[in-house]
């Protein structure tokens, strides 16, 4: 059974169709990469799925629940979590506290006014464990403004994992990351929980073909191709439109 089902999703700004009748399904544990040239509608699609953008048409299902009209916060509570193309972190709050915030949100204790944040031992333990798994233990007490960009991207992933997602939408996790720090992100992606369904938008084809079980190719907002990496690599239309006629996937 699918964990995420997108049916005929569309969005237009005036006469410009940004997403056009996009449909796909995602099974638990599946890794789906969405690729396409700049302006193909990838980020818009992720924003629609996450609830940050209202769709003009189509439906979105999480397992059996129709979440199309749900606001973003409700989708997050249901396990649909996203990261951003440009890191969106609280620049002056220590990373450990930011992770604790995400866990409090998930546990419903974020509105507690009377208990000291440091008295939540289990929350801090879980936050530290996530940081440790991502190789970020050293950054627990640092603020994002004191960190390298690659580490900030990892913190985004850590925050998403702290929300215990069932579906994780990764919007260009490698964007802006220097080559010297890229391996950190690659390692983190490899270590994502096996049962977690992941949708990744990425321009780094090496990462896409290494990470994805399936690839969805968007062009002008519409689905150009959907298939296994080997099929996409051999698809002449995709090669012509996106990878270039002589492109090496």
């Amino acid at each position: 059974m699918s964990i995420l089902r997108v049916e005929h999703l569309s969005k237009a700004y005036g006469g410009l169709k940004v997403t056009d009748d996009v449909s796909f399904t995602l099974k638990p544990g599946e890794r789906l990469a969405i690729i396409g040239p700049n302006g193909a509608g990838k980020t818009t699609l992720v924003s629609q799925i996450a609830g940050a953008l209202q769709s003009d048409g189509g439906r979105i299902f999480m397992a059996d629940d129709n979440v199309t009209s749900w606001p973003g916060y409700r989708r997050v509570g249901h396990g649909l979590v996203r990261t951003f193309q440009i890191s969106k972190l609280a620049p002056d709050i220590p990373v450990l506290d930011q992770l604790a915030l995400a866990i409090h949100q998930r546990d419903g204790s974020i509105g507690n006014m009377w208990r000291h944040k440091n008295s939540y031992g289990a929350v801090l333990d879980e936050a530290l464990a996530i940081l440790r798994d991502l190789g970020l233990s050293r950054a627990a007490q640092r603020t994002p403004s004191e960190m390298a960009y690659g580490d900030q991207r990892l913190v985004e992933v850590a925050l998403a994992l702290a929300l215990k997602p069932r579906v994780l939408l990764l919007d260009e996790p490698m964007a802006g990351v220097p080559k010297s720090e890229a391996q950190l992100i690659l390692d983190a992606l490899e270590r994502l929980p096996a049962d977690l369904a992941v949708v990744i938008i990425e321009h780094d084809m090496e990462l896409v073909f290494r990470f994805a079980h399936r690839i969805l190719v968007l062009a002008n907002g519409a689905v150009l191709a959907d298939g296994a990496p080997a099929e996409i690599r051999g698809n002449e239309v995709v090669r012509a439109v996106y990878l270039g006629k002589g492109g090496q996937a």
Partner: protein, 331 residues
């Protein structure tokens, strides 16, 4: 001395910085002995410090600059005065009424205001304080209008400590309430809720991506700030036994914001330091030169150029950021 989560390698540490509270108590006693002739000024500093701390919740912790915070303060002052006049002279009952009045206004106004941020929020808060001041002026049969509301008597505290003309009872009353307010607010802002407010200040998109609903959290914070602003107004009314329209004024709101900026926002301590500094300089500069004291305040505000996070930044440099992290924002 382990004071904060930041001083602990794994995020845990003392939850209750009692050393600081004890230091505050010692300071209150010391000020009483050092400045026996300035108790009225110190009382005013204490009540204003509660107002500025409550402003710090909105502006410092949640990042919403306001020029209308005196609306809640003034409503609290009128609430306490009317309680003493028509219901009971018991000061604690008056405080309850003042806090409730401030909280209620914050709930009603905040339900509309916290949907906005930045300049829009700032301008709307000015509108609220102007509306409240005009309302108080029009309702002169209750509020006394321009003449102020007087003629009420506040009973002795616990039936024992009468408010005296030298301001001794008023001093202890306001200072103890300042300390208690600080302890309560410090505890609240060290909770997950306080952290959430700081997260909203730092990056709303991040909080939304976490699944946090911004509006109810901000409204809760605004009501909390209203309760403490009302409390500050209530204490002022009880100690002075007169409430004027200026307690609801834009000027008081602006002064409170200046005090906060001067001391440093986002950690409660800065608000107290800024209030003391502003009021102290106001007092001595106005005595020395009644016509040009504002010049001194103007020059003082230039401190922001060198210390953008307020005077408290100097303390942080001396003692280390971890000390301030006990209370909230690092300087």
């Amino acid at each position: 001395m382990q004071l904060s989560q930041a001083s602990s390698p794994i995020g845990r540490g003392s939850y209750f910085p009692w050393q600081w509270h004890l230091a505050g108590l010692v300071l209150i006693v010391a000020l009483y002995w050092l400045f026996p002739g300035n108790l009225l000024m110190l009382t005013r500093i204490a009540t204003l410090a509660i107002l500025v701390m409550s402003l710090d919740l909105v502006t410092g912790y949640a990042g919403l600059p306001t020029l209308g915070h005196a609306a809640m303060y003034g409503v609290g002052a009128y609430g306490a005065a009317l309680c003493a006049k028509f219901l009971t002279g018991d000061p604690l009952a008056g405080l309850l009424v003042a806090a409730a009045a401030g909280g209620l206004l914050a709930l009603v106004a905040g339900a509309f205001l916290v949907r906005y941020q930045g300049l829009a929020f700032l301008m709307l808060t000015i509108a609220v304080v102007q509306i409240m001041q005009n309302l108080a002026s029009k309702l002169s049969f209750i509020t006394g209008g321009d003449d102020g509301l007087s003629g009420f008597t506040v009973s002795p505290i616990f039936g024992r400590f009468e408010f005296d003309m030298f301001g001794v009872t008023g001093y202890w009353y306001s200072m103890i309430l300042l300390l208690l307010s600080f302890i309560v607010l410090q505890r609240i802002m060290s909770s997950p809720f306080g952290l959430c407010c700081m997260g909203i200040r730092e990056n709303r998109d991040r909080m939304s991506a976490n699944g946090t609903r911004i509006y109810p959290q901000l409204l809760k914070l605004y009501v909390l700030a209203g309760v403490f602003a009302g409390l500050a107004g209530g204490i002022t009314a009880q100690v002075n036994q007169i409430v004027g329209l200026d307690s609801l004024g834009f000027e008081l709101s602006a002064e409170a914001l200046v005090m906060l900026v001067l001391g440093g926002s986002g950690n409660l301590v800065g608000g107290i330091v800024g209030t003391a500094l502003f009021s102290g300089i106001h007092h001595f500069a106005a005595t020395a030169n009644p016509f040009h004291w504002l010049f001194v305040i103007g020059v003082l505000l230039m401190v922001v150029v060198f210390l953008p996070k307020g005077v408290i930044q100097l303390v942080a440099r001396r003692l280390g950021n971890n000390v301030l992290a006990v209370f909230g924002r690092r300087a």
